[in-house]
Amino acid sequence: MSVVWKDLRRLVLGVVAGGLLILLPFYAGEYTVTTFVRIIYFGFLALSVGMLVGQAGMISLTQTAFFGLAGYVIGLLGAERGMPFPWRDLIAIAAVLVMALLFGLVAMRTHKIVFLMITLAFGQICWAFAQQNTSLLHGWAGIRGIRPPAIAGINFNRTSNFYWASLLIFALGILVLRLLARSSFGLALNGIRENPRRMAALGYPVYWIRVAAFLIAAIYAGIGGLLATYNTGIITPTTIQLSRTIWVLLMVILGGSTYFWGPVVGTAVAVWLDVLLSEGTERYNTVIGVIFVFVVLFLPGGILSISDSLRDGRGFPFWRRLYARKNSG
């Protein structure tokens, strides 16, 4: 009985939240809608990083490169050579997959901190190439004038239309990721995160499962990149620079990397924080840095861990942390 009740409540909450999101353009200002679009495309990127960090225990700093690659491909094929939708987009995702496979085959031979550094280096290679290649990628300037396609007569240049399309794709993305996390593949990934050695002894092809996870994560980053590029209309090397990568990692940790909704919540908070802070102060990087330090030291589980520890009666994690320190010291 209570299970049914719980499910019902969840359903109601879900419908209301979904409804609020769908109706957003009708009651919120255009800028709010635009910001939600940003949350969605950065959300894809954060899901990509979050899936690797949370589900598979791999801290990858290459994901923004896939994000950028997708943008560059539609820029090159669409804006510059006039290839129509959906071919350029499919080719973009294919390109992301090929690059992810190449990187994945090498990077998956390593673990932990070495993996982190190698993916960092991969990201930097891509950035350096994008910045220095002027003949194809136009270096610093990047590619301009990328417009979303008109499908079935719907003009996606309109913010609200673009928002609905993004929201639909995002909902699908979340759904698929949810299924994935609950599938035997998702469980196998968790197993690898927890104990790769045992997974190997059980007969799982650990290496290939990790590669597959990397490919899936890359697709998410790629989709985010497509949406982002259509939204801003340009793609430049700054899109894939290190500070962006770090920013995304911050989102994931801020929300809580081990929670399914963590990356999304983190993105929403971080994007909004960005908007608010850049208006309020020129020193927002300092503010973000301080928040970052705070989260790492006192709220390592992210925002979503607050409700968890409150529910468990462990108090607000920050105080718990301080208290533990005092006791052990």
Partner: protein, 286 residues
């Protein structure tokens, strides 16, 4: 043309010198503590800026070198003692903390020193125009190479000829046993981190004198440092020497013959080495 070749090699050596000072600090901290200090680039920038202010105020370059190095060492000490040690052993929190610190340092530096490129004035007595074999080359660059060799030798001596160095190496092997034998490994951790910070602070002053300091330089320097230690093998001093030399020459010749791709080029040996030997040229399996 002969002259050009020689100058290119000298340039490569100069680059290698600064690369070594940069990489050695990072690799040292990694070797013992398994900490990837991603605020290394920001430390460099801040060290350089502090050196700049000292030169600006006193005109005394050697003092700036010392001040830049020591202040970063102090910063490293405070950071290690107040924050880093709380999350020791966790890859992710350690990495993130150093990232956060670098964001703060870079932004505060921008607020204090502004966005203009700054350069430390090297007094003429340290920068004579030296002509050897008909090649005119700035004396300061020879000095730079000298300082780098001096640091390399000192590090080698400390690591391989002193008790402290033996403790550090033993700590890399087995930190538990070494502490059970009466060595205060936590203090050695702090010391190594401070030494690492000192080196990068010095690198900042050297780099700020030979090149310039400006916002954004921190990520460039961090990337260089990472490439150096990944290529050489994390935790290996010899690896840092070798990879600095390789990258220095590559960058020098790259700039001469394919300037548009010079920066991209430095990643090539790293990519090759990673594909064949993920632990780097002289690295241990992790």
């Amino acid at each position: 043309m002969e002259t050009k070749l020689l100058i290119l090699i000298l340039n490569g050596l100069t680059q290698a010198a600064i690369f070594f000072v940069l990489g050695s600090g990072l690799t040292l901290a990694f070797g013992l503590m398994r900490v990837i200090n991603l605020s290394h680039g920001a430390f460099y920038l801040l060290g350089g800026y502090i050196g700049y202010s000292v030169v600006h105020a006193t005109g005394n370059w050697p003092l700036a070198l010392i001040a830049g190095g020591l202040s970063i060492a102090l910063l490293g000490f405070l950071f290690e003692r107040t924050m880093l040690f709380r999350v020791r052993g966790g890859d992710l929190p350690e990495t993130l903390l150093t990232i956060a610190l670098s964001m703060i340092i870079a932004d505060v530096s921008l607020a204090i020193w502004g966005g203009h490129p700054l350069t430390l004035n090297v007094p003429a007595y340290l920068n004579p125009r030296v002509t050897i074999f008909g090649i005119t080359y700035p004396g300061f660059r020879y000095l730079l190479m000298g300082i780098s060799v001096f640091i390399a030798l000192s590090l080698w001596l400390i690591l391989y000829q002193t008790k402290l160095g033996a403790a550090v190496r033993a700590g890399v092997d087995d930190r538990e046993t070494v502490s059970a034998l009466g060595v205060n490994i936590d203090a050695i951790y702090s010391l190594v981190f401070v030494l690492s910070a000192l080196l990068v602070g010095i690198a900042g002053v050297l780099g700020g004198s030979y090149l310039q300091l400006s916002p954004g330089g921190d990520t460039t320097i961090l990337t260089y440092s990472l490439v150096i230690i990944i290529l050489g093998g994390m935790g290996s001093l010899l690896g840092t020497v070798v990879s600095s030399l390789i990258l220095g020459q590559l960058l020098s010749f790259g700039l001469a013959y394919a300037p548009q791709y010079s920066y991209f080029l430095i990643f090539v040996p790293m990519a090759i080495v990673l594909a064949i030997r993920p632990q780097g040229l002289f690295g241990r399996e992790l």
